[in-house]
């Protein structure tokens, strides 16, 4: 299992990229999986930094690989509940003028990953995503 605790700031993205890089090498994962994990991690982490500014603690990231399945978990401490699995989808039928830019990142994560779970307890948001990998 690979784990990292990082500060709630955009600059921490670099550390996430390094963690994923190490994880991908360790488990001999393909480039496509690496790309999707990086993109999902960026979207999830950026949302936490942008929309939970009141968050009081650092953010934990846990990566694990078991039975051809990658699990990536984010624990965001001291924040209000925001269930991304129930977040409003961007309106793709809207005209360009009305198109909402917000929500694109979450939409992407849901599309790229095979499963997205959300849990909220003790003022901690826990987002877990799963990606099946063919090996």
């Amino acid at each position: 299992m690979n784990e990292l605790t990082i500060k709630r700031e955009i600059e921490s993205l670099e550390l996430i990229v390094k963690l994923i890089e190490k994880f991908v090498i360790q488990h001999k994962l393909d480039n496509q999986t690496s790309y999707l994990l990086n993109l999902s991690a960026e979207e999830l982490f950026t949302n936490m930094v942008k929309y939970s500014r009141e968050g009081t603690g650092d953010i934990n990231i846990i990566l694990s690989f078991d039975k051809n399945k990658v699990m990536m978990k984010f624990k965001d401490h001291g924040v209000d509940e925001f269930d991304i699995t129930k977040a409003r989808e961007p309106d793709f039928d809207a005209s360009l003028e009305d198109k909402r830019i917000g929500g694109l990142g979450i939409h992407l994560v849901k599309e790229m990953m095979d499963k997205v779970e959300y849990e909220y307890k003790d003022r901690t948001s826990i987002i877990t995503v799963f990606k099946n990998v063919e090996k």
Binding site: I10, L13, E14, V17, T46, K99, G105, L108, M112
Partner: protein, 134 residues
């Protein structure tokens, strides 16, 4: 994957079209540089913009958000933003975001120039590609 971006401009080829060549990654960290380039072009009333992504293998929602917000501004001033040379990975995300009806992509700079109405003698009678990937 290093979070770096390099941006260069070509305004010589066609007078009213600006071609932006981007290399590196367009993510939360680097996308502000791209936004500044768009802002500065639009401040100079340059609204016909082609973005060459051949050197880009990663665009997160931060980058897509900039394309979408700037395209509104460009079209309001009779311009547009067209993307060319998307890598397979980047094109996959473009499809997931269902941007086909909003943001045009082409598989070469020449096709995008033609779509702006700038004729190119180098096409040798080939039909222009509309919304054609890569």
């Amino acid at each position: 994957m290093d979070s770096e971006i390099r941006i260069s401009l070509n305004e010589k080829e066609n007078k009213d079209i600006t071609e932006i060549r981007v290399d590196g990654v367009i993510d939360t960290v680097t996308s502000s540089e791209l936004e500044q380039v768009f802002n500065s072009l639009m401040n100079r009333q340059r609204y016909k913009i082609i973005v060459d992504l051949s050197g880009v293998d990663y665009v997160s929602s931060a980058g897509w958000g900039i394309f979408i917000s700037k395209i509104k501004e460009a079209r309001n001033s009779k311009g547009d933003i067209k993307l060319v040379n998307l890598s397979e990975d980047v094109y996959e995300i473009y499809e997931l975001l269902e941007f086909e009806n909003v943001l045009k992509t082409f598989d070469s700079l020449e096709y995008a120039r033609v779509d702006f109405g700038a004729g190119s003698p180098n096409l040798n009678g080939k039909k222009k590609a509309k919304n054609k990937p890569r």
